[in-house]
């Protein structure tokens, strides 16, 4: 049921808070809204201001986990709404599968970027709603800030494009790294990556052949299998997210 407290302040601040929050989210910056459930009082704490906040410790710990929730503070019980930037998906290959994968990933809330130096593939017409960079991975990837909140999918079939991307993604600790290609193709890829100095532990983190084994055939089905695998990596503990490999 609900309860009311006898006195409440209603100040015209909530629209300002929403506006500030939406602006921070658009800029991919984290923020917390602190709401006193009893009084309705609310304040907005952008990530940059947390260090100077009286609730610094609890705000920092919530930001690390990304989880909203109630918290007991010296000034009473508050609800902390925690906003962390959405995960990123970076794809090498402006290919047919990517044309299905990109809009599906947008629906799932990913910030999507496609990298392909072949300008015939990497056109805005083929990918209306996502960022497309027609450059080689060595040029395109470093400025993207690829990190552990990023999933990386190598989809070109071309080692010259995919492998610099894979090396960068593994070095940046992406939570998911997948590569298109048969087992045979992947075996040759492993040889080349090993020769390049990539550790066997890092190579073992590559999901290849990419995607869950659901018998996907068409590009949209393959996109579903890739997003299923990425979602498992994002949401399940590591041991449960391991992709079953059929013999």
């Amino acid at each position: 049921m609900w309860r009311r407290s006898s006195e409440r302040k209603t100040e015209p601040v909530k629209l300002d808070i929403l506006h500030a929050l939406n602006a921070e989210r658009a800029a991919r910056r984290a923020a917390v809204v602190v709401t006193d459930i009893a009084s309705g009082e609310q304040r907005f704490v952008p990530a940059a201001a947390i260090a100077a906040d009286p609730l610094r410790d609890v705000l920092e710990s919530r930001l690390r986990t990304g989880k909203s929730g109630m918290a007991d503070t010296p000034s009473g019980r508050v609800f902390l709404t925690v906003y962390v930037p959405p995960p990123k998906l970076v794809i090498t290959g402006a290919v047919h599968i990517s044309q299905a994968l990109a809009p599906m990933a947008l629906l799932l809330g990913y910030d999507v970027t496609i990298v392909d130096p072949r300008t015939a593939f990497a056109s805005a017409e083929r990918f209306p709603d996502v960022r497309v960079i027609a450059e080689w991975p060595d040029t395109a990837l470093p400025p993207l800030g690829i990190d552990r909140y990023t999933a990386f999918a190598a989809l070109t079939h071309d080692p010259k494009i995919d492998e610099p991307g894979l090396i960068h993604a593994l070095a940046r600790g992406c939570f998911y790294v997948g590569a298109l290609g048969s087992r045979k193709t992947h075996a040759r890829r492993v040889e080349r990556l090993t020769a390049h100095g990539v550790s066997s532990a890092d190579i073992a983190r590559i999901h290849a052949p990419i995607g869950l084994p659901i018998g996907a055939v068409s590009p949209p089905e393959i996109a579903v299998s890739i997003l299923g695998e990425i979602t498992a990596r994002l949401r399940l503990p590591a041991e449960k997210a391991a992709t079953p490999v059929d013999a």
Partner: protein
């Protein structure tokens, strides 16, 4: 049109700027099996239009009705839904969980 989390809060801002009365509902606590996580949002306007969700569709109707009160009075409410409240609310969570939903007016 499907709404992502950020679209819901953007709608709350846009609807208010359009001059509508707007309330924002947020899941603040859950016990047991709950369909939406803590922090999930539902935005409601004065005409009863809504975007987002706080459950799997089980209690949205009741939350919208309460939100219309909140828009009119300006007073926030803390609602609780669960099996135990089924008789009182005529709605409940079939999943057997309990949720608390905070409903506030966007001033």
């Amino acid at each position: 049109m499907f709404a992502r989390d950020e679209d819901i809060l953007k709608a709350a801002e846009d609807w208010r700027r359009d001059g509508k009365g707007v309330a924002l509902a947020t899941v603040v606590e859950t016990w047991g099996s709950a369909p939406r996580p803590i922090g999930a949002n539902l935005v409601i306007d004065e005409a009863g239009n809504f975007l987002g969700s706080v459950s799997g569709g089980c209690v949205e109707g009741a939350v919208v009705a309460e939100a219309l009160d909140v828009i009119e009075s300006g007073q926030p409410k803390l609602l609780e839904f669960g099996v135990a409240d089924e008789a009182a609310w005529k709605v409940g969570l079939s999943c057997g969980g309990t949720i608390r939903v905070y409903v506030e007016k966007v001033e």
